[in-house]
Amino acid sequence: MKQLLQDRVATLGILILLIGIGASLAFPQQFPTFDNLQQIVLNVSIETIVAIGMMILMIAGTFDLSVGSVLALSGSLAAWMLVQGYPMPIAVVVALLSALAVGWFNGFFIARIGINALIQTLATMGIVRGLVLLVAGSGIQDLPYSFIYIGQSKMLKVQSPIWWMLALLLVFHLLLKRSIFFRRYYYIGGNERAADLSGIRVGNMKLYGFVLSALLAGVAGILLTSRLGAAISSMGKGTELRVITAVILGGASLSGGQGRILGAFLGSLFMGLIANIMVLARVSGAWQDIILGLILVAAIGFDVVLRNRAGR
């Protein structure tokens, strides 16, 4: 029982289930429909892709504030190239390469030069947001169908961003569980110096982590732009904080060493669920933020109390 309570994936899963049942009873007409449930998942799908990268970084004991800007950069750059007449695959590849470059820029200064991750990614967040304004201006519209198709098509009645999210979740879930490469992040987050002395190249691994996180943000940017059918320079604003909230709700800790990919998904899903119920209950947006903040404090407080008891 105690172990179950300490496993965030289990507690959050049960909580989501209970809230879902409660919402079904409260709003039997609106909540438990295929369309509404799909809408909840669809709403969180793009940020969940960003959350996968953030979860990996937080397992390693670090984080990236620039993901929202990177998301916007990748989307805007793809849109700009399409409008210039480049073919869709080239636009997408260049957009992803730009995300990769930003990730490498972060990783290089954090892992090689030794700048604090908060400062570095905060700076990058501003720099990249500026680049987005240069590229997207007041917005880029009239994107070709070949690009719109990426994020707006359906398979088996389910919207494509959900499929993208599920595929990436599955791949990274398996990688984090099974591969030597990704398991190292748990050691790095557990004790960076001990990891180095155990022969794990902490610097390199962190650099790869930032590259990966930016790349996933780039993928999310393409999906979002494709869904919107336009690139808007304010895309992804606040994404970094929502994603970090979701990842922490999903069981990551700021000191690193713990967390699972499934937790990143459940954390996002939980936030989407709350938002959906608020809308159904006609609660104003201000209350959503208040309630989400309180839930975050409650969840972490619960964790700390439980751990302090176990530690004695």
């Binding site: 030597i180 490469f181 001990a194």
Partner: protein, 495 residues
Amino acid sequence: MHLLELKNISKTFPGVKALKGVSFTLNSGEVHALCGENGAGKSTLMNILAGNLQPDVGGEIVLEGQIQAIQDFNQARNLGISIVYQERSLSDNLSIAENIYANCQPQNRWGFLDYAQLYADSKGVLTRVGLGELAPQTLVEDLSAAQKQLVEIGKALAQNPKILILDEPTASITERETQHLFGLIKDLKKTGVGIIYISHRLAEIFAIADRITVLKDGAYQATLPAQEADSPKLIKLMVGRDLGELVKNQKSTSNEVALEVKGLSGLKFQNIHFKLQRGEILALAGLVGAGRSEVARAIFGMDRYESGEIWVNGQQKRFSHPADAVAAGLAYVPEERKSQGIFPDHSVAENILAAQFAGANWGGGEGEAHRQKLAQQQFDDLHIVAPSLRQVVRLLSGGNQQKTVLGRWLSKKPQVLIVDEPTHGVDVGAKFEIYQLLQKLAAQGTAILLISSELPEVLALADRIVVLCAGQISGELNAAEATEEGILRLAAGMN
């Protein structure tokens, strides 16, 4: 009348009975040593005395004839009880003076901090602990480990305690500073202070203590006058069994050089050279700060070095990261176990398996089942005492944590094993097990580089001893001809 009398003190934590009806007395002007393995309850008892923990109902603390219920640390301090913790309580970012008088800085009549008084008082305290040459304004982060320890003792003395508790005060200080500390303790005895002295180092206990009390598994074992005690007797009381003398193995040194260092120079060491043969235990001795760990870290690829060569099995190597050293068959057990050795919140199994993730491996490796078997094997071979492989390492005793770190490397079957203070903060039982393990490994052909400040340990284990002084080799001794005195003389730079 005793200065202090603890009667029938018990302490129950959820699931564990840490103390079982322990009684203890302390007279004024006495040094009373408290011995026991890690987990025997020494720290718990002292934390009760210092007000950090409350004893179970039924126990009594009698101070100068009056029963006291010590609710918190401040009350203990007001009653004249000062404690010097094993783990530091200094803030690195503040000056020595601000640390010594933390929470009780002198005030002027406006209620502001009186810096002149603060620095004058601190200077006096520093002189008492033998750091008179340091300015009280010096930041604590600029001090060596030994100096920090002495400042810590000064902080306790500044309260003018009636009872001073020293918990492993010599763990990180050198021989010379230990002698100074002992002088200080003798002075304090004359002024009537009662001192409770906790240490793993039996030699020190015999040198300084008047009486010795032994705890085992939270229970009182015996109190002996120091004259009547000797090491075998104490060890038997502490571990409940005879350990016997450590017998040196038949050496099978094969003249094959496993590791050779030629003219290695770095920031804190110059022109280091030695050869380490297969099956040999070579000790790097010297005072704390002599540059021994720095040499080891440079060899292992953790720190850069400026010049010199490193040869492993006849091939010249230059390691840019420990991963390269691991690939070449080296292993390193660091001195700072807590901050550099273990992954505190990970399981025993994960800690043992950490080195399996070294290097450039990307794939699935040999599979989870294979890894679990590796971990289980080390767990069994090393007799790691833990409920299971899934236990979080943070909750193990120091000795078992150290065995876990050793197990991590043994599963890689290294050719050269570097161990830095392998028994630092490890209880007697585990210490002997680690000694036996190192000897067994050497007998199997592993080349071992031992860094240790404990001279009996160096003498018991090493085949050859290279002594460092201020970053340079000041001499080399054969085990047969080495004595503690001889090593110390070289370590201090006297020829």
